[in-house]
């Protein structure tokens, strides 16, 4: 079918049905899938990966979606976003047809289901709040520290692979806003912490105690931004393989529900 005939038919269908469509009208149409793929790469890949393999956002190439596995569920997430996560609403930035094209593209992946971690979430929870020391810096619900990212909903927004990478090599892919800042004062003191802000003339950082510091570049010896994580490395050695899997299983289950 010529693309414009298809587009016309789809436009009429979408106009008639609004968002009542349950299934992408572009299913299996290679041209539309190509446009959907291009749009995905432009708008979505920074978080979900260039091949939809996941990254800062969950993987979308497994045929399993947190908000539901019908086409219309995926459509709604793209159009309305996910409140409380980094996922914005694209409904006002894209046509309905183009969102359905993205859905058609995401449906080209063979469903393999959500990756489940072979671990015990209860034991992982104990590690998180105990031997692992994770809760000292990370909050889950209202419990925990605030030096590192809030993990209350981390199981919804990160793939297992990404969580594993963050655990074993936290410097590989820093969460937005969690770069380090190192300041050397005129009297030779070094103050490091997570950067709240940095620009050409100043820097603001929180040290490990949570204290806020603000510096003007002209008042100090140097201000350096470092793309390293404040999270300790070495969990690959200090935790056994089973403990790592337990911890990951716990984090995978953190989906914003009442924290335990």
């Amino acid at each position: 079918m010529r693309w414009w005939v298809l587009t016309l038919l789809v436009s009429l269908a979408v106009a008639a049905a609004g968002q009542e469509l349950e299934r992408s009208p572009f299913h299996g149409d290679e041209t539309s899938i190509g446009v959907g793929k291009a749009t995905f790469r432009l708008r979505c890949s920074a978080c979900h990966g260039i091949h939809a393999e996941g990254g800062k956002g969950p993987p979308l190439n497994r045929g399993d979606f947190a908000a539901g596995n019908r086409d219309v569920d995926i459509y709604r997430v793209i159009a309305r976003g996910v409140p409380g996560t980094e996922m914005p609403a694209y409904g006002s930035r894209s046509t309905e047809e183009n969102i359905w094209r993205i859905v058609a593209f995401l449906r080209t992946f063979e469903p393999v289901g959500e990756e489940r971690v072979d671990g015990d979430a209860e034991r992982g929870e104990a590690i998180f709040w105990g031997a692992g020391g994770c809760g000292g810096c990370h909050k889950v619900g209202r419990r925990g520290g605030s030096y590192g990212p809030d993990l209350t909903r981390i199981g919804r927004s990160r793939s297992v692979d990404h969580l594993r990478e963050a655990l074993l090599d936290p410097n590989e892919d820093l969460p937005a806003g969690y770069f380090m800042v190192k300041v050397v004062t005129r009297d030779g003191r070094t103050i490091s912490g997570i950067g709240s802000g940095i620009d050409d003339f100043s820097a603001q950082l929180r040290d490990a105690s949570g204290k806020l510091h603000s510096f003007l570049r002209e008042d100090v010896e140097s201000i350096e931004r470092e793309f390293t994580s404040a999270m300790p490395t070495g969990y690959g050695e200090s935790l056994s393989d089973q403990q790592q899997r337990d911890l990951l299983a716990y984090m995978q289950g953190l989906r914003g529900e009442e924290s335990r």
Binding site: W3, W4, T7, E30, T31, S32, G34, V35, K37, A38, T39, R41, L42, S45, A46, I50, T95, N98, R101, E172, D173, G197, I198, D199, D200, F201, R225, F227
Partner: protein
């Protein structure tokens, strides 16, 4: 001509002066008019230099806001305001515009036009400014229209459609008035449009000429497009050009070929994408062209200002056109003939190993985007992108900004669907690469860098240089900054509270020098305390 007609002409001329109308002579002499800012680049050579020197390196530390105008409109403010006879004319995003009282910043009138919901856009809804002639202002609207407004009231005098926005055309450019015509470009290459430069009669809105930046069958250059790929060839013209009255040539840069990152559907050099064009101002006929990036697959539009400078190069005085291209090289061309004079890399470049004697890049293999991705420097936005540049005849230096760093380019084949993205894939940031930036001062005769002011983020605003030895610029983090134009040393700054995406302007009003820029959603005028 009899005496009555002469008398009528003189009276009309007097009336025009009395009403503050801008005529062709005023535009031609804009560089000498300290009390006005009459066109996008301040003068036809696009210098963005004002000889005003009341604010200088010694006292700039004392400047402060004289007034702030809050527009109440969100979006990217990338406008160059115009100033004439006590009024500032400002365009904003999403088809808004205002006239402001120069003394107080109070609104005199507000123009707005809805943006169609179904308008395909790649990059937001900015607008880069008005042009002016007589008592009329000219601006483009997002839906690829050109509108003439009554400068006194903001009322629409005429409006014409340049192209059908439903096909992916849109417009953001500041028009350029030349010889009674309003010259505009067009955007849309991310949607597989076939683009152009238009000239419209300032009086009637009738189109006087159109130059297609992708030639059709039978036209020279069409042979550089395989098959019928020319139909979707892009080559947008979304940044204002310059004009040489002696040569009567308009210079205008063109953008990427479509699809952006996939060259397979369009074998050949893809003229006149990524090129500098010299057009006869009266007819729109092509006099010469120079293509910076033949068969581009990295989205390196040639949209940087074409700045006209008479400068010595290799011991010879040259009428040059200088241009800091998005592909990472600073170029000098002979603006009469288009002859390549030299090119120098100004940021990290890993795709070309210099130039041939004709200025064609010597390609380094392995930089074509692939499905898995190819690391290439500079990244998609450049190098230097569209942000306004400045040439100071006082320092002899040319100022522009640069986005420094690399990106991973992913390519993929896609079919064309009218009005939808036609990109051929996308870019990915490099883990651990912070994508920083810089403000550069370059000797335009050699390309030698004289100084570099480092930015923690890719640049966002344009440049203004002044006779006070200053360079004004802004940052993404909201700082409006004055640097010493000689050595780049920061002399003054203000945190404005919003990203500075616009270039600054300056003018004298009632004996006092003002410097004005848009920041966030506001327009701020600075001056020394009374």
């Amino acid at each position: 001509m009899n005496r009555q007609v002469w008398l009528a002409c003189i009276l009309l001329a007097c009336a025009a002066v009395a009403l503050g109308q801008v005529d062709a002579e005023a535009l031609a002499n804009s560089q000498q008019d300290d009390e006005s800012w009459l066109m996008y680049g301040r003068n036809y050579s696009a210098w963005r230099y004002s000889p005003l020197d009341e604010i200088d390196t010694g006292n700039v530390g004392r400047i402060a806001p004289a007034w702030i105008f809050q527009t109440g409109v969100s979006g990217k403010f990338q406008t160059t305001p115009l100033v004439r006879d006590g009024v500032m004319y400002v365009t904003g995003p999403s088809n808004h515009a205002w006239a402001l009282d120069l003394m107080t910043g109070r609104e005199l009138w507000h123009y707005s036009e809805p943006v169609p919901d179904d308008l395909p856009l790649c990059c937001g809804q900015p607008n880069r400014g008005f042009a002016i002639l007589g008592n009329r202002l000219f601006k483009v609207n997002m839906q690829a229209t050109l509108v003439a407004l009554d400068a006194a009231t903001g009322d629409v005098v005429w409006e014409v459609e340049s192209a059908d926005y439903r096909k992916g055309y849109s417009n953001t450019v500041a028009p350029l008035v030349v010889n009674g015509m309003v010259v505009v470009g067009i955007a849309g290459a991310e949607f597989g449009t076939r683009d152009f430069i238009d000239a419209y009669d300032a009086e009637t809105g009738e189109r006087r000429w159109r130059f297609r930046t992708v030639p059709g069958p039978g036209e020279p250059g069409n042979e550089t497009w395989g098959g019928d790929s020319w139909k979707r060839g892009g080559a947008s013209t979304w940044i204002t050009g310059s004009y040489d009255p002696e040569l009567n040539l308009i210079y205008w840069g063109t953008g990427n070929p479509g699809p952006d990152l996939d060259g397979a559907p369009r074998p050949g050099d893809n003229l006149y994408s990524d090129s500098m064009l010299a057009l006869d101002a009266d007819t729109g006929e092509l006099r010469w062209y120079f293509q910076f990036t033949p068969h581009d697959v990295h989205d390196w539009d040639a949209v940087a200002d074409p700045v006209l400078i008479d400068v010595e190069i290799d011991g010879q005085p040259r009428k040059a056109l200088v241009h800091a291209n998005r592909n990472g090289h600073f170029y000098a061309l002979d603006r009469a003939s288009g002859e390549f004079l030299f090119a120098r890399a100004y940021t990290e470049v890993n795709w070309a190993d210099g130039m041939t004697s004709a200025g064609r890049p010597i390609l380094i293999p392995g930089r074509t985007p692939t499905d898995e991705g190819t690391l290439t420097c500079p990244g998609m936005g450049g190098g230097h992108n569209w942000h306004a540049t400045s040439y100071s005849p006082q320092t002899g230096l040319y100022y522009f900004n640069s986005g420094d760093g690399c990106q991973i380019y992913h390519g993929a084949t896609q079919d064309f669907v009218e009005g939808e993205y036609y990109l051929g894939s996308a870019m990915e940031n490099v883990t651990g690469d912070p994508r920083e930036g810089s403000i550069l001062a370059v000797d335009p005769g050699t390309g030698d860098q004289r100084w570099r002011f480092a930015l923690v983020s890719p640049p966002s605003s344009g440049m203004l240089s002044t006779g006070g030895g200053l360079l004004f610029a802004g940052t993404q983090e909201g700082y409006f900054v004055a640097l010493d134009a000689t050595d780049g040393k920061p002399l003054w700054r203000l945190q404005t509270g919003g990203p500075v995406r616009a270039p600054a302007i300056t003018y004298r009003f009632e004996g006092r020098q003002y410097v004005t820029t848009a920041a966030g959603s506001a327009v701020i005028a600075f001056a020394l305390p009374r």
